[in-house]
């Protein structure tokens, strides 16, 4: 199948970018979206042209590296799917496909479709952990955790930190990303000691990074490749209120 591509090209962080037209003439339905781009790049490289820069690594939907907005939707049209797992059978002969980077104040463009997401790491560094040094941990079965709680914590912990939620949000809010980590740790007994400190520290850091606030648009949940529910944000808000009341 043949496709028309409109791809965001930008040579560096400070230069202006624009959409450039490319033709993808030999697309097989079994290709993944990124393999389709590989083929386009192979063509460009052979002509000695600068390849289109885009991020990917695992190509199986778990590392959170790939980050493309396809036809206006982060990770493209398939629900619960990263763009590396999106397959070309989803497209039709002659389709025009627009490909852009994640857009958010906190995610400056590095080049073409590649952005800098280190702000998310700094939010985790502010408090997204249990402070236990290596050594001296009690036996793994010392604390029984009801299965339902472990499963709910796992549902939240499944976040791959790709940042699609931020890219989809008109406020560029990182609430779903943070809510998932805060839920994961506040549900488990191990996370209790730092429960209040954590939520406050992470939210403060997110503000400092330029992530916006949440106005309940729900776009984040809709594009999350791991289908992390928006109830994680509600849980985070509760945690934050509790922490604020406690510190008064």
């Amino acid at each position: 199948m043949k496709l028309k591509l409109k791809i965001w090209r930008q040579t560096g962080p400070t230069s202006a970018g624009r959409l450039v037209d490319y033709a993808a003439d030999h697309v097989s339905p079994d290709m993944s979206f990124l393999e389709m781009l590989d083929v386009v790049n192979e063509g460009l490289i052979k002509q000695g042209e600068d390849a289109i820069a885009f991020d990917s690594d695992c190509r199986e939907g778990i590392c959170g590296t790939c980050s493309l907005v396809v036809n206006g939707i982060p990770h493209g049209p398939d629900r619960g799917t990263t763009v590396c797992q999106l397959h070309m059978r989803r497209f039709k002969e002659g389709d025009t496909v627009t490909i852009e980077p994640w857009r958010a104040v906190a995610f400056p463009v590095v080049k073409d479709l590649v952005v800098d997401r280190s702000a998310m790491d700094r939010v985790i560094a502010a408090g997204g952990y249990v402070s236990v040094n290596v050594g001296g941990a009690p036996d793994g079965n010392a604390i029984a955790i009801p299965k339902e709680i472990a499963e709910t914590a796992m549902d939240s912990a499944a976040c791959i930190g790709c940042g699609a939620c931020v890219a989809a949000c008109k406020n560029a809010s990182a609430h779903l990303f943070m809510g998932a980590k805060i839920s994961h740790l506040s549900l488990l007994p191990q996370g209790q000691a730092e429960r209040q400190r954590r939520v406050v520290a992470m939210i403060e850091q997110a503000d400092a990074e330029g992530f916006g606030s949440c106005s309940n648009e729900g776009e984040c949940e809709a594009v999350c490749p791991k289908e992390i529910p928006i109830s994680n944000i509600a849980r985070m808000t509760r945690e934050y209120m509790k922490a604020m009341l406690a510190t008064r």
Binding site: G48, D57, V110, S131, V132
Partner: protein, 637 residues
């Protein structure tokens, strides 16, 4: 050069405790005066950097991804072993040790493996304390599943995302140290050279992938935890950025490369669909707990699977290996799949696949239970193949998955170059010629959380070194060296694609240095690889400039290293005229077609010394002694 494994004396079970006592310590107040470079943020690197930061060392931590959390360890699916015996099914440290030595086909070091089994139990405790949401039973205690090569249930898991959850635990601990300024993080940096001064590893040269700047970092010790080299085969289950570059360039600076030919082929991957394919997707081994592997009994049977009656199916693993059944080790399962396809009984369009069927398990347990256990894997399968594995059996085929070989290290995880430590998949140490499932995560975390914090202290406390800074001539020489390679890559200006050449290398490796190797196929590869290397250096096209993000340049550098390294891999395979574990030489098999070892001549670690590109490397042998487990013909019947 005499290789000293530095294995402590004494009874096997006491070696590590005694060694911990005998090792020198660094005074807590002095630790921050020592700088340690750690390259890699996978399970091995992140756990090492976090632990050393906690201890008070000044740690510099590097990775090529934009975030440490994206290291390839994130993709591990099935689980992590530990000898907890929570199931009361007869497990013990000794049994895990025994299974691992046997699974590795008696080509690993007993003392290392025993320590690994001992530490396995601490890993689970540590991870639980970090909040890793392992699967649990209704009573709230930790759940286990079974993996190949074991008759006990000792694998801990977090759905099909165990690697992700373990890595996030380590990453979070790491970020806590970053926050406390004990660890400085350098993301999107690629190590391009190791700096050796007076025989000691004293620093690294990296390329800042965002700006193209060549940067120098000096330290008192260097740790490489840069993962495996499976992408030498182009198609593998590894992440596309996985590479041999860091360890290969350290090898070129004098570090010995051990057992490069020990590569693992995973039996259950989604088959190749076409030329465009950029990677293969693993379907976790845990699926073999409930999935049954079969092919039609008749050759060339083109009926769809549901039309083939029970009596005309060959559940060949259950038939040939009644006691382990579908849970035989990976090398055995892979070779049997290849054999079935070679006989013309393969399924799917290409005939290069076998079925992995869940119908019985779904009937027995219900689709919901199967979904809870494997939901994300089934989802992934359906995404890629457009087929519903709840309804039709999966089609699977073996693929390159893991590399047991790596830089040679002693019991302290130090290479022959003083100060250079190597952890995780990048070293060669614990898995012999075949790794058992769920043991890589265990090894990476044992190395990083529990071994290196002791042994690096011992090294630093017992070594005197001059102070060096990155202005030293050796840094300049290494930085120039890295720069020269970049300039050279950009100046070829040929018309061949980088990927095209990598793909061709992969084809050579898979066909001639793959699942079944012969002297003839290996000789063929040894002629083809240098030829392809010449074609690369004369004809590759690397567009763009060196002074910004240039993914073509990064990729070309990695492929260039693979074109050198692949030759060593093939040469090692040729020199080892026996079959063992994942290394199968057709000339050396039992009448039943199982791998036949030659203990008399090959019970050693082959550690290769670099002598120049395209030149015969020098072989050093570390003999392997088995005092506890007597090597026998492995049997999983």
């Amino acid at each position: 050069m005499k290789l000293d494994a530095k294995t402590p004396s004494g009874a096997l079970a006491e070696k590590w405790d005694r060694h911990k006592f005998e090792m020198k310590l660094v005074n807590p107040a002095n630790k921050r005066k020592y700088t340690v470079i750690c390259v890699g943020t996978g399970l091995a690197g992140a756990s090492a950097a976090a632990s050393l930061g906690e201890l008070g060392y000044n740690v510099l931590n590097f990775c090529i991804q934009d975030s440490p959390r994206r290291a390839h360890s994130i993709a591990a699916q099935g689980g992590i072993n530990a000898a907890k015996n929570y199931q009361n099914d007869g497990d013990s440290v000794y049994r895990l040790f025994y299974d691992t030595v046997k699974g590795g086909d008696y080509r690993s070091r007993e003392a290392n493996v025993y320590r690994l089994a001992q530490l396995s139990v601490n890993i689970i405790d540590q991870c639980v304390a970090q909040g890793v949401p392992f699967a649990r039973e209704y009573g709230g205690l930790l759940d286990n599943r079974s993996f190949g090569g074991a008759q006990v249930s000792r694998t801990f898991y977090a759905r099909g995302q165990t690697g992700q959850q373990l890595l996030l635990g380590a990453y979070q601990s790491l970020m806590r140290q970053v926050h406390q300024r004990a660890v400085r993080l350098f993301t999107r940096r690629e190590m391009l050279d190791l700096v050796v001064i007076d025989g000691q590893a004293r620093g690294i040269i990296v390329r800042n992938l965002m700006t193209g700047a060549i940067e120098r970092y000096a330290a008192d010790a260097v740790i490489l935890a840069t993962g495996g080299y499976g992408t030498a085969y182009y198609l593998s289950t590894n992440a596309v950025g996985s590479n041999v570059t860091a360890i290969w360039r350290a090898h070129k600076r004098g570090a010995l490369f051990a057992n490069p030919c020990y590569t693992q082929i995973h039996p259950t991957c989604i088959p190749v669909s076409g030329e465009h394919q950029s990677k293969l997707t693993l379907m976790s081994e845990s699926l073999r707990n409930d999935g049954r592997v079969w092919v039609p009994k008749k050759t060339g049977d083109a009926r769809s699977p549901e039309q083939i009656p029970e009596a005309e199916r060959d559940y060949y693993l259950e038939r040939k290996y009644p006691s382990f059944g579908n849970l035989v080790p990976r090398d055995v399962a892979s070779r049997n799949a290849k054999e079935a396809c070679d006989e013309g009984r393969g399924v799917g369009e290409s005939g290069l696949a076998v079925y992995l069927d869940f119908q019985d398990a779904i009937q027995r347990l219900g689709a919901d239970v199967i979904k809870e256990k494997y939901g994300n894997l089934f989802h992934m399968y359906q995404k890629i193949t457009d087929e519903n594995p709840y309804k039709v059996p999966m089609r699977i085929y073996p693929a390159i998955h893991y590399t047991m070989g790596g830089l040679w290290v002693d019991y302290n995880l130090m290479s022959n170059l003083p100060g250079l430590h190597v952890l995780g998949e990048a070293n060669f140490s614990d898995h012999g010629a075949n790794r058992l499932g769920a043991s890589a995560l265990m090894q990476g975390l044992a190395d990083g959380y529990f071994v290196i914090p002791y042994t690096i202290g011992h090294y630093l406390a017992s070594t005197t070194q001059p102070k060096v800074t990155a202005d030293h001539d050796a840094f300049k020489e290494a930085a120039d060296n890295a720069q020269r390679q970049i300039t050279r890559l950009l100046s070829v200006k040929g018309n061949r694609g980088i990927r095209e050449i990598h793909r061709e290398l992969g084809r050579i490796m898979w066909d001639d240095v793959g699942m079944a190797r012969t002297a003839e196929s290996l000789e063929r590869a040894l002629t083809a690889i240098p030829k392809l290397r010449d074609e690369f250096w004369n004809g590759v096209s690397v567009p763009g400039t060196p002074d910004n993000l240039n993914q073509s340049l990064e990729y070309a550098g990695r492929v260039a290293d693979y074109l050198e390294f692949a030759e060593l891999l093939a040469l090692d395979a040729l020199h080892r005229r026996e079959s063992c574990g994942g290394h199968f030489r057709e000339e050396s098999q039992t009448p039943e077609g199982e791998a036949l070892r030659d203990d008399e001549n090959y019970a050693y670690v082959a550690a290769w010394e670099f002598t120049g590109v395209g030149r015969q490397p020098e072989l050093h042998k570390e003999p392997l002694q088995f005092e506890e487990v007597h090597p026998t013909q492995r049997s999983y019947k």
